[in-house]
Structures are given as C-alpha cells and as structure tokens.
C-alpha cells in the first residue's frame, strides 16, 4: 500500500543521499562511461577488421561478435572475474588494479572489461552500418584527390559515419548505465548494489528500489539531453534548426508532457 510506504526513506534517498550512496552513484557513472568507451574502441577495431581484405581478420571479427553477442553479459562478467583465474591459474583481476595515478577496485575493473568487450560486439554492427550509410561517392571523391584509403577513411568517411552512429550509440549508452547494475553480482557496490544492501538490512525493498529507479532515471535523462546536444552539433552543418538547451530538456521529457496533454 502506498500509505504503508515509509516516505521519509524515499525522501532521504533522493534529497539527502549520504556519501556511501554518492560513491555508488559515481561508480555507476564511471563504470558505464569507461565500459562504453572500451566498447566503442573495440567496435571500431572490429568494424575495420571486418572490412579488411585479409580474411583471418574478417574471421576474427565475426567470431568476436558471434561469441559476445551470443552469450549473456552476466556470464561474461562472471567469466572474466572468476573464470580467468580458474582457467589460467593466476589472478587476472587482482584485488585492486594500480594505474599509477590511481588504483581501481579489481572487481570494478573486471566489470568494465566484461561490459566493454560485450558492448564492442554490438558497437561493431552499429559502426559498420554507419560506415555503410555514407555515400560511396565520398570515398571515391577522396581517393580521386589522391587520398590513400586510411586517410580517406579517417578524414572523410568516419566523420560522416558518426552522424549515423551517434543516435544508436546514445541508446547503447543508455542501456549500458542500466546493464552496469549486473556488476553488483561480482561485488561492486554501484547504484543497484547499494540499494540491494540497504534493503537486505532494513527490509524496505520498495522504498530503496523506488529511489534507485529515480536515480537511474536522472542519469538517463541527463544523458538524453547531452546526446541531443551532440547530435545537434553534428547536424549543424546540414540543417538550420536551432533548439536551445532548455528546449532540448523539454524535448527529453516530451513523453511526460504528452501524457499531460491527453492524446
């Protein structure tokens, strides 16, 4: 019952989050950002490998997608975290990873690695489709000017492909922020993990998970505004529509507005 909810818990989780919670929120952000970045890099490499003239590269690229798109992420996360140790007899992921300037919790590192590798297999298809969507004449024009393939790809084709890649990439990142909650199962207390722990000690699941849903919604909403800004900048050269930052915010919340309007 709504009346049975302890509203002050929800209130406290939303308006007065403690530092443990803020740290969990921060973990969700950096795990998603780093995993997505790794995914884009791996996806780009795999996409370029797929277009190679050298068949073993094409084969490897295909195998990569087959395996990592064909098995559950959670299995991959477990595999990276526990499995590598079992298989190779050494600890692939130590307790904490030292990057010189800072150290990172080993489980978080494993999570980022697994999520990123998984994401790369999806990004390969998105990037490939983006490259395919660029008019063939662009590459021909670049090459007719004496640009070698790599230069033409880097200066002419890829910048145009980003226009097609960014919208689905935005969706992928939105997914990533939510999927990153799976790393809780290897012991990383990010947003979901934090809620899970609090609920198990207080037995107030609805309050804590409502709060966590709210924070995920905040993250994805902020992202959709940022994404719209990026897309706007990318298409600025082709279209003249100028929406302000706040109009973009309104746009991101359009479903809510539409609900108020009564279709």
């Amino acid at each position: 019952m709504v009346a049975g909810l302890e509203w002050h818990i929800l209130w406290q989780r939303i308006f007065h989050p403690d530092h443990v919670f803020v740290l969990a929120l921060w973990r969700t952000i950096y795990i998603s950002v780093l995993a997505q970045t790794l995914g884009v890099v791996l996806g780009l490499i795999a996409a370029l490998m797929r277009m190679s003239k050298f068949w073993p590269l094409r084969f490897l690229s295909g195998l990569y997608v087959l395996i990592f798109r064909g098995t559950p992420v959670i299995v991959q996360i477990f595999f990276v975290y526990f499995g590598a140790n079992l298989l190779f007899g050494f600890t692939l992921i130590p307790r904490s990873v030292n990057f010189g300037l800072f150290t990172m919790d080993g489980a978080a590192f494993a999570g980022i690695l697994a999520l990123g590798i998984n994401e790369g297999s999806y990004m390969r298809e998105i990037i490939r489709a983006g490259i395919d969507a660029v008019d063939r004449g662009q590459l021909e024009a670049a090459r007719s000017l004496g640009m070698p393939y790599r230069l033409a790809m880097r200066r002419i084709v890829l910048p145009q492909a980003t226009r097609f890649i960014i919208p689905p990439l935005g969706n992928e990142f939105n997914n990533m922020m939510k999927t990153s909650s799976l790393v809780f199962f290897i012991g990383v207390t990010e947003l979901f993990g934090d809620a899970e722990i609090r609920y198990s000690t207080t037995f107030k699941p609805v309050e804590y998970f409502l709060a966590v849903a709210f924070w995920y919604l905040v993250l994805t909403s902020v992202w959709s505004v940022i994404q719209a800004q990026i897309e706007r900048r990318l298409t600025a050269s082709e279209r003249g529509d100028e929406l302000s930052f706040w109009e973009r915010v309104v746009h991101a919340w359009a479903p809510v507005a539409a609900w108020g309007r009564r279709a």
Binding site: D135, G137, A141, R143, S144, L145, G146, M147, Q160, E238
Partner: protein
Amino acid sequence: MNEHVMRAEDVRKRFGRLEVLKGISLEVVPRETVCIIGPSGSGKSTFLRCINHLEKIDAGRIEVNGHLIGYRQENGRLVEDTEANIAKQRSEIGMVFQRFNLFPHMTALENVIEAPLRVRKTPKTVAIREGEELLARVGLADKRDVYPGKLSGGQQQRVAIARALAMKPALMLFDEPTSALDPETIGEVLAVMEELSAVGMTMIVVTHEMGFAREAADRVVMMDDGCVLEEGTPEHFFTSPDHERTQQFLSKIL
C-alpha cells in the same frame, strides 16, 4: 615532355558476364579538350573511371603523363600497383563527378584545401590563399565558409571543380558534370568548364551537352556498346558523321 597526357591502349573491362569496354584506345595531347558522347550504357563513364583507377581494367593499359596507371610491370606481367603509388597517380588527375560528391561536413574552402593540406602537405596559409583564389575563379569567393548543403547544385559543382583544380592536376576528368543539375544552373558550370578549356587545361569530358561539345571540344569521341565508334573535330562530327549509328544518336538528342 610527354607527347600524350593520356594514352589508352585496347582497354577491356567486364562486370561479371557483361563486357562493358571492348578494347578502347584513345590518346589525348596536352591542352586538348576531348568530349566523349554516346548512349547510356555505352561504357563512357566506366572508361573515365578506369583512367584514375576507380575501376580496375581486365586488359590493355592506360598511361597518364607516361606513367602506367594502377599497375606496374613485374617480369613482363602487369600486377596491381601499391595503394600509395595509385594514390600518388590519382593526385595528378582531377575528377569531377555527376553527383558532385562534396564533403558535406566541410565548408567550401575546407573542401578545396583538404587534399593539398593532407596529401601534398602544402603549408596551411598557402593552401588557404590558393583555395580562395580557386573559389574566386569559379565565382564563389563569397561562399568560402558555407557548407555544401546550403549551396545550389550548380554552386556545389563549381566548388567540386575548384577542389579538383587545387591539386594542380595534369588532366581533368568530368563525368557527366551537368546531368544532375537544374537546367538554370547548367550554364554557370559549363561557363567554368569553357574557361578552363580555353586556358589550356587538358580535359576529358563525358557529357550529353552537345552545345558544350560543339563550342569547347577539340575532338569529339562517340562511344557505343563498349567501343569507340568514331572520333573527329566537332564540325565534322556534328555536320557529316561517318557512322549511321552516330547520325541516329545525334538526330535523337539534337
């Protein structure tokens, strides 16, 4: 100096079973403007694209400025040349496409200076100065910072011509440069091409613009079904063509 800017010898090309070029031979001397005409599907565009190796050829040879295009000789056989060499050869040959193919993410000036900057490593100030001069030459000095999406077809094609000229090519190829244009913008593009031809640029133009062929061409080449049917001066060609097929073609489009 080379006697010929471009020399094609018995060039053959097939797409699968379809033989599109059945042994084309053509020579173009410096400062000459050659117009290639003929019905669609006759292989004109394909031949043009072979000249800068956008299409591979199956037999024969093409030389530009005395250099074999796209292939090198190894133990008496022709093998495909390296990427870097082909790129270098292409940088000597300007090409203008039917659909302009301007880079939409770059302004007019950026389109023009891209290849000189990245391929020739021309210093930026020099490239910009030359780029501005070229845009002025095609009558678009005021559009230097405009993106292609905001330009008319004729303006885009003129930027594309400036872009090709920026590499100071020895030979310019035009692949139906006015076929995708509105009738009212065709004239401005043809005017630029006529000026180029008049100052002695070596040009090969695939076109359906008979007016241009008559005015600007030194030689007209008629292609049909993958062969060169006949060639000659515009006067001879348009008044008393040798071939019946040419007469038919001309009577249809004139």
